[in-house]
């Protein structure tokens, strides 16, 4: 029978239950009572030792949230979320604030080990990467890679458990800490910037986040500082039925640079878990922020049961002239993804970039894209989106490019490519373009293709197994985006592409 038919049959028999990271860590947790109320919010705020103004901010958002409705424009289908069935706070119990890895619950460290997170690797912890080792990177055009250090801020359920590299970062004047700590230690910065990109009234999920966010990272790079290492957070959802409400705030002051890596993995679950994170980025004059995400949360079983609902609001503000913000993402997990990392190009000559790989398999639904809002003069943006759909999944790119009357000579280039594996999946591209200036130059290219039998046969005739051949062809399809990822992530990303396409063929 023809290969395409075969592929389809195999996809139909897909067994996503084999989800590699599906295990549960047994750590005692401390929970807030189920459901959402002023009391629960006060409980969270008290747990975090927050000042009064923060609690007020949360309660205001909560009042607002009660009046809001979920958007219905996304190409997503899911049963109504029962907000009162969720727990909004769960923290692993442990000795007060660990000072080193020795003090961290060994069960947690084992969990990370299973995930392959290099947290325990002494070399990485010491900031040294094995130098000069030839690797696959050589073939990926990995030249020019210099940074060998990653600072890891691990977030386990809702509490940041361990923060490494603090000393070296502090020497550079960089603040990298859990946001709850920043609220206590750096209230002036938090007050000034929190909610300044994503208002607490922005959308129902962002508003919910404002009311109940539990943790996340805070980064401040002082003027003129190039952050000496890549900053990294691994998020992980562990406690059953715990909504995850991360809040991340990154500020790059004038002329500074930071690259931030976000990685996520969640264990297997029976009930859908809501995740509604907010990430705000602020780049002042001549500053640059590079934000990279690898997301591989549990996508649900073969029927689509049990996966993560991922409703994320991510937005960057190029507030200063000549500033630059770049989002790079590899989305392979979650049952539902609703996510549009955006850039507001406020400063003159500022630049926004969005590079995305979104892979859907099984019954996954993705509605994702970006918004580039051109407000300043001579602003430019670039969007490269690669969607891969397999199984019975649906994969929608939804993008908005907008230029205000002031945005003279705004430029955008958008390229959206979709690759289909089998014929039970869907790929949809919905670009919106709005311009109020006659001088804007917006370009859009879109392609949709199927993985070709000839390419598959060519690779297989050389001895490459069918699944590896698919992964190879797909990695070629996404190569220009893959190149945007920091090297630490690129290798992981390649592996993840293979894992997420498992079962899409033989």
């Amino acid at each position: 029978m023809p290969a395409v038919q075969e592929t389809i049959d195999q996809v139909a028999a897909i067994d996503v239950d084999k989800y590699k990271y599906g295990f549960v860590t047994d750590i005692e947790t401390e929970k807030a009572p189920k459901g959402l109320s002023e009391e629960v919010i006060a409980f969270i705020s008290a747990k975090k030792g927050e000042p009064e103004w923060m609690l007020e901010w949360r309660l205001k958002a909560y009042e607002r949230w009660k009046t809001m409705k979920e958007p219905d424009w996304a190409a997503l289908e899911y049963p109504p979320i029962k907000y009162n069935e969720l727990y909004y706070y769960a923290a692993p119990k442990m000795a007060d604030n660990p000072k080193s890895l020795d003090e961290v619950d060994p069960e947690l460290l084992r969990t990370y080990e299973k995930l392959g997170i290099p947290l325990k690797e002494q070399e990485i912890l010491a900031g040294v990467r094995k130098a000069g080792e030839p690797s696959d990177l050589d073939e990926m055009g990995g030249e020019g890679y210099t940074s060998g250090k990653v600072a890891v801020d691990a977030v386990f359920d809702s509490v940041s458990v361990v923060t490494t590299f603090k000393a070296e970062l502090a020497k550079a004047g960089v603040i990298f800490c859990p946001i709850s700590e920043a609220i206590r230690e750096h209230p002036e910065l938090v007050k000034k910037y929190l909610g300044s990109v994503i208002s607490p009234a922005d959308n129902v999920f962002a508003t919910l986040n404002a009311a109940v966010f539990t943790d996340g990272s805070f980064v401040y790079i002082p003027p003129g500082v190039r952050c000496p290492m890549e900053l990294s957070t691994y998020f992980r959802i562990n406690e059953q039925n715990t909504g995850q409400f991360e809040r991340t705030l990154i500020i790059a002051d004038k002329g500074s640079y930071v690259s931030y890596l976000e990685g996520c993995t969640a264990p297997m679950r029976d009930e859908n878990q809501l995740h509604a994170a907010c990430v705000e980025l602020i780049a002042l004059d001549d500053a640059e922020i590079k934000y990279s995400t690898v997301q591989n949360w549990y996508p649900g079983d073969a029927e689509g049961k049990g996966g993560i609902y991922n409703f994320v609001t991510k937005r960057g503000d190029c507030r200063g002239d000549r500033s630059k913000i770049s989002w790079t993402q590899l989305e392979t997990g979650s049952a539902i993804t609703w996510k549009y990392p955006s850039v507001i190009l406020r400063g003159d000559d500022s630049r926004g970039e969005f590079y995305s790989i979104a892979i859907s398999n099984g019954r996954q639904q993705i509605d994702s894209g970006t918004k580039m809002i051109h407000l300043g003069k001579n602003t430019s943006s670039r969007i490269i989106s690669k969607g891969i759909s397999a199984g019975r999944s649906s994969n929608t790119y939804r993008g908005l490019v907008q230029a205000s009357g002031r945005a003279k000579n705004a430029r955008n280039f958008t390229q959206c490519d979709s690759l289909l594996i089998g014929d039970k999946c869907a790929a949809i591209t919905i670009p919106y373009v709005e311009t109020k200036t006659g001088t804007a130059q917006f370009e859009h290219e879109a392609t949709t293709s199927k993985i070709s039998d000839d390419q598959l046969f060519y690779a297989r005739s050389r001895g490459i197994g069918e699944e590896e051949a698919v992964a190879l062809i797909v990695s070629g399809f996404v190569q220009d985006v893959l190149q945007q990822l920091p090297m630490e992530f690129a290798v992981e990303a390649k592996a993840l592409i293979s894992v997420s396409l498992e079962g899409s063929v033989g």
């Binding site: 046969f457 297989r460 070629g476």
Partner: protein
């Protein structure tokens, strides 16, 4: 090495099936080179594709034995690991996949399937360097996505380079000579001749006797009307060059 008996192959052509190979037989022994010549559309590439295991062909009768094993039961990658290689008439472009990456995946997959150690990166680099130098493939080419934007001749050289790296027991070369300039034809032929040995066989599909001046065949087969209609020594190629296929088309 390769024993094909009474091979019948059909393809789906619109809503009906069409028989392309109609009882083809020949026997290629270890160390031998056989050439297959025949008019356009006579089924030469079909034969190569069926040997390599491409989907979309239905074998309705007959068998293909490779080193005594029934290859029709094997997946394409298993055939490759067992030592079969097809140099494509039209090598396929794989955008974004660097030639190096592709080669490494191919070599290591075959080694893994045979229970051998994977190559380390330095070992691999050395092998590629040698093979690419022998075939005059520039090192920039190795970094480019495989076959993408390669000229016709470059694609063919790349195929032979892959053959040199994979060291198959049986190589089917489908019109590897077409598209090659005179110098390239010599280089590629030398590459093939360097691999000739008592345990390696070649099936060379070509339209031109010129290739066979470089790669001396033990036997030449004429494929027409879905069958081998005549077999002979190298002189048969010269005869075909002069007289064409007219007489075979009548009898077929």
């Amino acid at each position: 090495m390769l024993n094909i008996k009474n091979l019948h192959v059909s393809v789906e052509d619109g809503d009906h099936s069409r028989e392309i190979l109609k009882g083809l037989s020949f026997h290629l022994k270890p160390g031998e080179v056989h050439a297959i010549m025949g008019p356009n559309g006579s089924g030469k590439s079909t034969l190569g594709n069926v040997i390599a295991g491409k989907d979309g062909y239905e074998v309705t009768e007959g068998e293909i034995l490779f080193a005594g094993e029934d290859v029709l039961e094997m997946e394409p990658e298993e055939r490759a690991a067992a030592g079969l290689f097809l140099a494509f008439q039209y090598p396929v472009e794989v955008p974004g996949v660097a030639t190096m990456t592709f080669l490494k995946a191919a070599m290591n997959s075959q080694r893994e399937a045979r229970g051998e150690e994977k190559l380390t990166t330095p070992q691999f680099m050395k092998l590629v360097k040698d093979a690419s130098e022998m075939l005059g493939v520039r090192s920039e080419m190795l970094k480019r996505p495989i076959n993408v934007g390669f000229s016709g001749g470059e694609k063919k050289r790349n195929e032979i380079m892959q053959m040199a790296l994979l060291q198959p027991k049986l190589a089917v070369l489908d019109e590897t000579d077409s598209g090659l300039d005179i110098d390239a034809l010599r280089i590629v032929s030398e590459g093939v001749n360097a691999l000739r040995g008592p345990n390696r066989s070649f099936l060379v599909i070509t339209h031109y006797q010129r290739l066979l001046d470089y790669i001396k065949p033990d036997q030449v087969h004429v494929l027409a009307g879905g069958r081998i209609v005549r077999s002979g020594g190298p002189e048969l190629a010269t005869e075909l060059e002069e007289r064409g296929y007219a007489e075979f088309l009548e009898t077929a």
